[in-house]
């Protein structure tokens, strides 16, 4: 078990920086998820920690040790790969025992560790099988077993669920979470799926273009996004963004000049930002209301999900979505009246995208 410190990490493959001057502290026994779109540098960052990729600049510490020049083999980390990376010519037992054999561990100790991990992961019946005789979920468990037997300081997961079907993904996600609570080891998990990030992490690192956009708990990242990128990336369906401006004493939608009933402090923030901003509101914070109080909108599309219904409409010329109670049974073409929960809306600077505080 160990903490991880990254100091001023820059990584380039010859062209533009993949990661730029990134610093990050991960506490001992913490479960941290790196999340971001494809090409944001999250896997590269994980590989730098693993020792599979050298840094261009900066320092990597595992525990108190600077590990820049230590090869992967000597960092005492374990990694679960996206494609599982099991050795096809070895049995499940062989796969799990391989790293322990390399360390010169006794056969009895190896056997004890492999069987203990196999029991924990429910893969004992498959120990004599080759990877190709296993299903995707079973392979995933073997890959985790291979990591567990080593009792490493840090577990690294590189998008390990992306090759599984939706049902299995949910199941394995819960298993990894349970495992992290059981093993109490520092874990870093890379994903592009914000649901995985929200459900598993103690803290989330949201990355974009090699730069940390926000590093906080899932609740904070969801409720208080640091900028428009984070607000748009975390949450499904994505947050609605509407251009707004200050008109006299009122905050109005830029598209059609309709007034929005927002709190006075937001008016002050908008004034400080030059009178223009982007309003962000999550679909669940757009509420149906009395037609006399709300903004009228015509329904363009209805997506019933069972537990909720997604209603698509245009607001001042900008497409938007509201999450409503399915009992309402909204219909396409119907006009509805909407209001926004005043305390749940966010305002972002038009130029920088940073939240207006």
């Amino acid at each position: 078990m160990a903490s991880i410190k990254l100091r001023n990490i820059t990584k380039t493959f010859g062209g533009p920086n993949i990661i730029s001057d990134l610093s990050l502290d991960i506490d001992d026994r913490e479960f941290v998820v790196f999340v971001g779109p494809s090409g944001c540098g999250k896997s590269t960052l994980l590989r730098i920690i693993a020792g599979l990729e050298p840094v261009t600049e900066g320092d990597v510490f595992i525990g108190d040790q600077r590990v820049n020049s230590l090869p992967a083999a000597r960092r005492n980390i374990a990694m679960v790969f996206q494609d599982y990376a099991l050795y096809p010519h070895m049995t499940v037992y062989g796969n799990m025992a391989f790293a322990l054999e390399l360390r010169g561990m006794s056969k009895v100790e190896i056997d004890t560790r492999v069987r203990r991990a196999a029991t924990m992961l429910d893969i004992e019946p498959y120990l004599d099988r080759r990877p190709k005789a296993l299903s995707g979920g079973q392979r995933q468990r073997v890959a985790m077993g291979r990591a567990i037997v080593r009792d490493p300081q840090v577990f690294l997961f590189d998008e390990p669920l992306s090759n599984l079907d939706a049902r299995l993904r949910g199941q394995v996600r819960a298993e990894i979470k349970a495992l992290s609570q059981q093993l109490k080891t520092t874990m870093i998990f890379v994903t592009h799926d914000q649901v995985e990030a929200m459900t598993m992490a103690d803290r989330i690192v949201v990355l974009h273009a090699g730069v940390i956009q926000q590093y906080d708990t899932p609740e904070q990242v969801y409720e208080h996004p640091a900028n428009q990128f984070v607000a748009g990336f975390i949450g499904s369906p994505t947050m609605n963004f509407l251009p707004i401006r200050l008109q006299g004493d009122e905050i109005v939608l830029t598209g059609d000049g309709r007034a929005l009933p927002l709190t006075d402090d937001r008016r002050g923030r908008l004034q400080n930002a030059g009178g223009e901003a982007t309003l962000g509101v999550r679909p669940e914070h757009i509420l149906l209301c009395d037609p006399r109080e709300g903004i009228a909108a015509s329904i363009k599309l209805v997506e019933p999900l069972g537990s909720d219904t997604m209603v698509h409409f245009d607001l001042a010329g900008t497409p938007a979505i509201a999450r409503v109670d399915p009992a309402i049974k909204p219909k396409v073409g119907e006009t509805i009246a909407l209001r926004m929960a005043p305390s749940r809306v966010h305002m972002f600077d038009v130029k920088t995208g940073q939240v207006l505080t």
Binding site: A50, L52, A73, A78, F81, Q82, D83, A85, Y87, A99
Partner: protein, 274 residues
């Protein structure tokens, strides 16, 4: 109905094509084998006779008039030696080329193979003579390794490239050095490729004529070079020549027949699935 008919015709045409290609490729081999069992007068008869009284006189003459067994032993020593050397040097070379993704060494070995062998002969002869190696098997084994090593490298490259990078990385994380990754992870996964490379290297070395002709002595002469003895200025002993050609062709043919299923699968596969 019409679909079934056209499918039938396609199958027949396929079979006809295969038969034509088969006849075209096998005709010289059949002619060689038949000629080796003919009397001298029948061998050069025109049109060729298909019905004749078979005789072993060519084989008897071959064994009685030449130290053919020792030529055979020489062939085996040279071929096994150069194939082994090709494998020992070519496997790690192919692995490192695939690992580093630096392809110029592979291109270089191919370029060396593309240059006409005759260009190497004089410098090699002088070099080996100055080293006092003429008369031993080493000049032939080393010169044949120039043929076998590129074969091994170029056959194994797609096999190594086909191993997912993450498997190598998992091995690194598990604690493997690069040598151990080759030995414990990569090599077992490209076993069929190594076998294919070894067979092809064997066949190429076994049949290679030019280097042996110049670099061998009477003690190290191989079968292929010895066969040239029967081609005279005035006359050629066609019957004996065909007998020796049949015997030379036999080991690669038997080898190819034994491993043909493996050979075809290996040549077309070239990849590892996890």
């Amino acid at each position: 109905m019409s679909t079934t008919l056209s499918a039938d015709w396609a199958r027949r045409l396929n079979s006809l094509q295969l038969a034509l290609v088969g006849v075209f490729l096998l005709a010289p081999v059949v002619w060689m084998v038949l000629a080796s069992f003919k009397q001298s007068s029948d061998v050069i008869a025109y049109p060729p006779t298909l019905l004749f009284t078979p005789t072993l006189e060519n084989y008897v003459a071959l064994i009685e008039t030449t130290p053919f067994l020792s030529y055979g032993v020489n062939s085996i020593i040279v071929t096994v030696g150069s194939t082994t050397l090709g494998i020992v040097l070519g496997v790690p070379a192919a692995f490192v080329i695939s690992w580093t993704r630096v392809s110029w060494p592979a291109v270089l070995t191919l370029a060396a193979r593309m240059v006409p062998g005759a260009l190497f002969l004089l410098p090699w002869y002088i070099l080996f003579r100055n080293l006092g190696m003429i008369g031993s098997y080493w000049p032939i084994i080393l010169s044949h390794a120039v043929i076998t090593m590129p074969i091994v490298i170029w056959i194994l490259l797609p096999y190594f490239d086909g191993i997912p990078r993450s498997i190598y990385e998992a091995a690194q994380v598990d604690g493997c050095s690069i040598t151990r990754i080759l030995w414990r992870i990569a090599l077992p996964l490209v076993g069929s490729g190594v076998a294919i490379a070894a067979i092809l290297a064997f066949v190429f070395s076994w049949n290679f004529f030019l280097f042996v002709l110049v670099l061998s002595t009477s003690d190290t002469k191989t079968m292929i070079a010895a066969s040239f003895n029967f081609v005279g200025e005035g006359s050629t002993r066609w019957g004996v020549l065909m007998a020796v050609a049949t015997l030379i062709a036999l080991p690669p043919l038997v080898l190819a027949m034994i491993v043909q299923r493996w050979l075809i699968a290996g040549l077309t596969l070239g990849a590892v699935k996890g």
